[in-house]
């Protein structure tokens, strides 16, 4: 066994001639030196049907003077090793609480007449991390908001961790969730290790201590976001306010292809009725789908993504039901039931190609939903997060940014072909749903029926 110490020599001698061939080396060099071409080729071959990302940034404010220092940021995770924590199968109470939160947030953050889009998943994960730093009534408000059906923060940590694992359990990088905590290295601020540890354990949150006076920190935060959104968003902060002591960031990145991609001749231009009674011509993608949805105010369809794990859900309010009143009628339970009661009927579906981005400060919606103390200096109790010798800690902003692009395969199908998609003699059990006026859409996890993204499309921009 002493030979093991010579193992490297033994391997190298016995496999002396084993190396990558010159040809392989050459192709490798050629491949990496033509990055753009490879990328484009891959793109046009594989085709990306949908890309969506979201970001939520929670900004904490404290009051004190700054300590000027030259250091930029330290990775605090060197001292913090994420521990393996228990996971649990997602309980009915958790799913109900989360669906309720998701729909309530959507209703409260929806802007009339605009293309709204939020990712409840991103928001509850960021709030979950934040809640771990709170105590007393502040914590109680978080628990009531996120775990309406008697869940406490420990339950939520376990469930959020389990849900994240379930959602990101794919072979590819196509659903990616990232969390990080950035805080000022000011000497007055004494961050609690337990807070960082819990967030590392349950949220895989990275922690960075940085000089908030340095422009470089702004760059680093922005680069972290850019990296985790696959370059879809490159800037989230322009400057750091003098009283900001901490950023808590979550990003969700989603990219998938349709199970049945649209082909060129299934794309046609047609009219989309806007809310102001005028209409505009946009490109519609037509297909046959096999899951039909219906409630008393709307009907819709489910279009599956390639791996069968997620689905795109579209809900078109019935004639006479405005998008505003439909959004207002949504509830967590209603949405879950709608999904559970899908029927296997053929739908001839028309979906406009669209891109949208949305940007909202969630403080007001969250206040309306019952989160109050955490925004008020003097009332907010974040004693489990940090000791700040120079003043109180409270949340000053909750920025939520989203982006979505839905299309066929990223190819421009400008040439319209005269192909009649609708066929002849449609029998009555089949449905014809063209999303040609404002509608609600969501990207849903098929396992839990939870909406990971949900939005309204009132004015499609191709």
């Amino acid at each position: 066994m002493s030979k093991l110490d010579d193992f490297m020599n033994i391997v190298n001698t016995n496999l002396d001639k084993l190396d990558m061939s010159e040809k392989a080396k050459l192709t490798l060099i050629n491949e990496v030196r033509k990055p753009d071409r490879t990328y484009i080729r891959k793109l046009s071959f594989i085709g990306i049907s949908l890309v969506a990302f979201v970001l939520i940034l929670i900004m904490f404010t404290g009051i004190f003077t700054h300590d000027f220092s030259k250091a930029y940021a330290n990775d605090l995770m060197k001292e913090i090793t994420p521990q393996k924590v228990e996971t649990a199968s997602l309980s009915e109470d958790f799913l109900k609480s989360t669906a309720d939160f998701s729909m309530e947030l959507f209703k409260k953050s929806y802007t009339k007449g605009k293309n709204s889009l939020i990712s409840p998943t991103s928001v509850y994960l960021a709030l979950g991390m934040t809640a771990n730093g709170s105590e007393g009534n502040t914590l109680k408000e978080f628990e009531t908001l996120l775990g309406r059906y008697n869940l406490n923060i420990n339950d939520l940590n376990i469930y959020y961790n389990s849900l994240t694992r379930e959602l990101t359990d794919t072979a590819s990088d196509k659903f990616k969730i990232a969390n990080s905590i950035w805080y000022n290295q000011d000497k007055n601020l004494d961050i609690k290790q337990d807070f960082l540890q819990t967030n590392a354990d349950y949220y895989s949150a990275a922690a960075y201590k940085a000089d908030f006076n340095s422009k470089r920190t702004i760059d680093e935060v922005n680069k972290w976001v850019k990296y985790n959104t696959h370059k879809l968003i490159d800037k989230v902060i322009d400057k750091i306010d003098a009283n900001t002591i901490m950023y808590l960031i979550n990003t969700v990145y989603f990219e998938d292809e349709w199970q049945s991609p649209y082909t060129k001749n299934t794309v046609r231009k047609a009219a989309f009725k806007l809310q102001n009674k005028t209409s505009k011509t946009v490109e519609f993608m037509y297909s046959e789908e096999y899951s039909y949805l219906k409630d008393d105010k709307a009907q819709g369809f489910i279009k599956p993504y390639k791996n069968g794990k997620y689905s795109f859900v579209a809900l078109l309010p019935n004639e006479g039901v405005s998008i505003d009143s439909y959004v207002n009628s949504l509830s967590g339970e209603g949405f879950i039931n709608l999904m559970k009661n899908k029927s296997s009927e053929t739908v001839f579906a028309g979906l406009p190609k669209f891109k949208a981005d949305y940007n909202i400060d969630l403080v007001k919606p969250l206040k309306q939903m019952g989160l109050k103390d955490c925004f008020i200096s003097g009332k907010a109790n974040f004693t489990k997060m940090a000791d700040n010798n120079a003043g109180d800690i409270f949340i000053s902003k909750v920025i939520h940014k989203t982006f979505i692009a839905v299309d066929t395969e990223g190819t421009k199908a400008g040439a319209v072909t005269e192909v009649e998609m609708m066929g002849k003699g449609i029998v009555s059990s089949e449905h014809n749903i063209t999303l040609n006026h404002p509608f609600v859409y969501a990207i849903v996890d098929n396992e839990t029926n939870l909406p990971l993204f949900i939005g309204t499309m009132t004015n499609p921009e191709n």
Partner: protein, 174 residues
């Protein structure tokens, strides 16, 4: 540390250097994992390609060699999971890759060949710790980081691998 990540992300490494430094050791590492010459070349190719493309993810917390070895190990594992990959049934290393250098004779003794064969017949989780520890010459803490395990677990695993190796070597002698 985070800042290294960012700096590294901006500057792409020199592919010629990566190939010169790692192509041999990666191909051999992959060969010991996969027992197949062609697959090991493909795996090493893919590992270097991924290392180049993902250089921004290299945090500098470990050495470059450690980081690239980790990528290679993961590539090998993904190959092994493919239905098309059937573990090569031959248990024995081909001598056709051995050095012809007379001075290297000691390392081509029957004993050393038996050791190589015993190593690559180990179950994967033991094989990878032995390869990382003795071929890539990494410390226990580095291996623990790569495999996301506790150091203690790795130490125990290496010890168990020693015992298993001894048993396999005994079997071979019989």
């Amino acid at each position: 540390m985070f800042f290294t990540l960012i700096t590294a992300q901006e500057s792409k490494p020199d592919i010629d250097r990566l190939i010169a430094e790692y192509s041999k050791s990666l191909t051999r590492l992959c060969y010991l994992m996969l027992k197949d010459v062609q697959l090991s070349e493909e795996a090493a190719w893919e590992a270097l390609y991924k290392a180049y493309k993902g250089y921004g993810k290299f945090r500098g917390g470990s050495s470059e060699k450690t980081w690239i070895s980790k990528i290679a190990i993961n590539v090998c594992k993904s190959y092994m999971r493919k239905p098309s990959y059937k573990e090569i049934t031959s248990d024995y290393i081909s001598l056709s890759y051995a050095s012809e250098d007379e001075e290297a004779y000691e390392f081509r003794s029957e004993e050393s060949l038996a050791l190589l064969n015993a190593v690559y017949r180990l179950p994967i989780k033991y094989k990878q710790v032995i390869l990382l520890r003795y071929y890539q010459q990494m410390g226990v803490s580095e291996i623990a980081k790569i495999l996301k395990e506790k150091e203690n677990t790795i130490s125990v695993r290496i010890k168990r691998a020693h015992v298993m190796l001894k048993e396999k070597l005994k079997e071979d002698c019989l």
